[in-house]
C-alpha cells in the first residue's frame, strides 16, 4: 500500500460518503448537485488508483468517466426540469470539487513527468473540470433556453 492508494482511499472515503449523503437525502436540488459532484469525487480516485497500481491503462476509466459523468448529469438536468434547481451551495461545492480535481491532476502529472501520458492527464483534467462547470451551470438553469427544458 503506497501513498497514492492511501490518498485514493481517503479521498474516496470522505468524498464518497459526503456525495452519498447528499444524493440520498434532502431536497431534489441538493441531490442533483451531489450527483454532479460524484463525478468529481470518483474520477480523481480513479486517477490516484491508476498511479498507485502503476498501470497507465487504468487512466482510461477516468477518461471515460470524465466524458460520461457530465452527460449523465445533463440527462437528469434535462428530464427533471419540472423541479427546477438553483441551490445556494452549488457554486461553492462546484469550485471546491474543481479545486480537488485540479490538485489531483497536477499531483499525478508531477509524478508522471512530461510526455504523452501527461498530455492525456491534462486532457482528462480539462474534460473533468469543464464538464463539471457546464453541468452545474445547466443545473442552475443557465442553459434553459438551449436545452429547451
Amino acid at each position: 500500500m503506497n501513498g497514492w492508494i492511501l490518498a485514493a482511499t481517503v479521498e474516496l472515503g470522505g468524498g464518497g460518503a459526503a456525495a452519498l449523503w447528499g444524493v440520498a437525502t434532502g431536497p431534489p436540488a441538493r441531490r442533483l448537485t451531489a450527483q454532479n459532484l460524484t463525478t468529481s469525487v470518483v474520477c480523481p480516485a480513479l486517477l490516484l488508483l491508476a498511479q498507485g497500481y502503476a498501470r497507465p491503462a487504468y487512466v482510461d476509466l477516468a477518461l471515460l468517466l470524465a466524458l460520461l459523468g457530465p452527460v449523465g448529469t445533463l440527462v437528469f438536468a434535462r428530464l427533471l426540469s419540472g423541479e427546477q434547481v438553483s441551490g445556494p451551495n452549488v457554486r461553492g461545492a462546484t469550485w471546491t470539487a474543481a479545486g480537488l480535481d485540479a490538485a489531483v491532476v497536477v499531483a499525478v502529472c508531477a509524478a508522471v513527468g512530461p510526455g504523452r501520458s501527461m498530455v492525456k492527464l491534462l486532457l482528462i483534467g480539462t474534460l473533468l473540470i469543464g464538464g463539471n462547470i457546464i453541468a452545474s451551470r445547466a443545473l442552475a438553469g443557465g442553459f434553459r433556453g438551449v436545452g429547451g427544458g
Binding site: 492508494i5 460524484t38 488508483l49
Partner: protein, 86 residues
C-alpha cells in the same frame, strides 16, 4: 492494511445500494443508482478488473439513468392524460 481501499469501496457500494432500495420516488432512485454505478466501477478497478469497470461506467453512469428517467417521464405523462380524461 492494503485492503483498506477495497473495504471503503465495498462499504460505499453496500450503503448506496441500500439507499437506492430505500428511496420511494423512482427519479430519486435513479440519482442514487448513478452514484452506485460509479462506485461499482471503482470497486471493479480496485479488484483489478478495469475492463469490467469500463463497461460498468459506460452503462451505469449515463445509460441506466437515461432509461429510468425516460420511462418515468413516459409513465407520468400517461398518468396525467388519463387523469384529464376521467
Amino acid at each position: 492494511m492494503s485492503d483498506a481501499v477495497t473495504v471503503v469501496a465495498l462499504l460505499l457500494v453496500a450503503a448506496s445500494a441500500t439507499a437506492a432500495v430505500a428511496q420511494r420516488d423512482p427519479a430519486r432512485q435513479a440519482l442514487v443508482l448513478s452514484f452506485l454505478g460509479m462506485v461499482l466501477a471503482v470497486l471493479f478497478t480496485v479488484l483489478q478488473a478495469p475492463d469490467v469497470g469500463l463497461s460498468q461506467l459506460a452503462v451505469g453512469s449515463a445509460l441506466t439513468p437515461l432509461l429510468i428517467m425516460l420511462s418515468v417521464r413516459k409513465v407520468r405523462r400517461r398518468g396525467r392524460t388519463k387523469e384529464e380524461r376521467t
